[in-house]
Amino acid sequence: MSETTPQHENPPPPDGIRTTGADAPGDLPRAPLAEARGTGRIGDKIFLGLSRGAGVTLLVIMAAIAGFLAIRASHALSANEGNFLTTFTWDANANPPVFGIAVLLFGTVVSSIIAMALAVPIAIAIALFITHYAPRRLSGPIAYVIDLLAAIPSIVYGLWGGLFLVPHLEGLYKWLDDYLGWTKIFAYHDGAARSLFTVGILLAIMILPIITSVSREVFRQVPRMHEEAALALGATRWEVIRMSVLPFGRSGVISASMLGLGRALGETMAVATVLSPSWDIVPSVLDAGGGTFAQNIASSFKEASGDMGKDALIASGLVLFVITLVVNGAARLVIARRKEYSGANA
């Protein structure tokens, strides 16, 4: 079929139809000739209406999520006797209810920071491995294996983390305590290793695939000429990466990391199975205690009696929603500046 179209004044772009504007196929039927034809116009209108309606439905859902959460949250907040931001307890079922998100905010931020600190360097390294280091025949299967990591349900990570990882980390934590215990941050008093640090390790494993797959796409887009120029100047492979690959991919890697951060902030079951929560801020990241937004919602839900208990959880969910919205929105804006990175749908 393509042989019959010999003249290409401007050949159609391989992708990115949405971004190219006037010469996209969507404009064709609006040309006057098509407008004049009677057949199909009603069908066209119905079809356009349906598909536009679906798009609008998505927007309505997003607005409804924000709206409904906000309404329920405002019920809870107006009845709350404690300070929502600084209270260290969660007695939403009590009368009057007293609850606050201080511990949850702290736990969520700390566990996500740990996860990011562990996952981002490793994910970048794996992306480099797949694009620049691995033998060509292996790089496809390796990328596939990393993507499989993403397909494993979070509850299975949680089960593995709770029953396999936790017992295996105790030795490591004792060792960290011996040498870094004086910092207080890495102090470890005996007990199960059900701490924010364990959560961070598990979250790191879980967000590796998304950071890797987006970074990989970015690194693949580095102009071949840049790399060959550097090689021709005698640069070693590492120098090529440092001088041409990393600077080119920086914004992509940043947004990939933020997508990963969004996942880590909202992860529920893996945290709920691994962490042994408490309503205080533990100075050491290795000691059990603390909590995260999502974990608290999942584990307190069955005890939440009546509307007030649930509304309080919804209020904390709203905070989580806003945080992830900001993080994801920022990441997408960075990506949108370089539209060609198509790996963002992983």
Partner: protein
Amino acid sequence: MSNLVKDRPAVTGSAPRPGSLRQPRLPRWAPAAFALGSAVVGVAIGLVAGLDSRIQWGLIAALVFVLGSYIASTVVEGRRQAKDRLATSLVWVAFLLAVIPLVSLLYETVKRGSKALNADFLNHSMAGMLDDQAGGGVYHAIIGTLEQVGLATAIAAPIGLLTAIYLVEYGRGALAKAVTFFVDVMTGIPSIVAGLFILSFWILWLDFDYSGFAGAMALAILMMPVVVRSTEEMLKLVPNELREASLALGVPKWRTILKVVLPTAIGGIATGVMLAVARIAGETAPIVLLVFGSKTINNNPFEDPQSSLPYYVYEQWTAGQDASYDRAWAAALVLIAFVMILNLVARGIARWKAPKTGR
């Protein structure tokens, strides 16, 4: 090799022999030898010092490998080559670090899951079972998962498909931009937040009861953006010549989309939908909030609590008995198998029916 980017002459003890342009290099087998050596050192230190955690053995071996090859390379090949080798070994170590958890997770799940897994496990429910009793099964959970995921797909797939068609075939202007942006943002909504939304809308406001359908709605919210994104990518791959040829024959646009564009991309679209199904099949948080869990068989997703595979794993884990742990692992194995089969089939379809991209 010396008039280079950094213009730094080859430093270190082993300067190139006069008259030779070649710098001394480590032999090709050196990295493998270092890897073997450091593994031995790691095990030896671990055994001698009596470290009980295998993780430490591995970390020591990795450290020895990275430092050893760096030092050896500095001595023999010079600083720049050594840095290159350092980067290479760090990248390899990072890759291995990422593979270990995957292998361990799959191994543990298969090993511990196969203990309780048998035909009885698959066709019995947990009705009347105590937590510390061996036996029982996941039949009710499988029914729940299939029904909830099926309903979610029935809601999300058409909306997602139409949205993608809108964005690719019609989308222009502010609305399309807004939809694109919010689809992207929607991808990142935590599953628990989707659950809370349906909770406040369907259960607290409209006053319905916990049911499989409530869970399916939350799952549909999680599924929609994934379907939109993957379908969009696939539709963009359909060559414009096909559309133009059809339109030039006077075929209305909607028939062009239905009869030309969609059939061309159908393989990729099916793959995207199946990957989305695989993703929501493992979601637990919305089920905890909306379906509430049940130990008995409930075939009606529109009324009364149900169970689901991921919820079942969580429930059995929470019970905290040896017998329930066995069941949790077995159910996890069933869940992984289900998700992996979906994944493999989806990728098989993708390979088999890859859209024909022009020439």
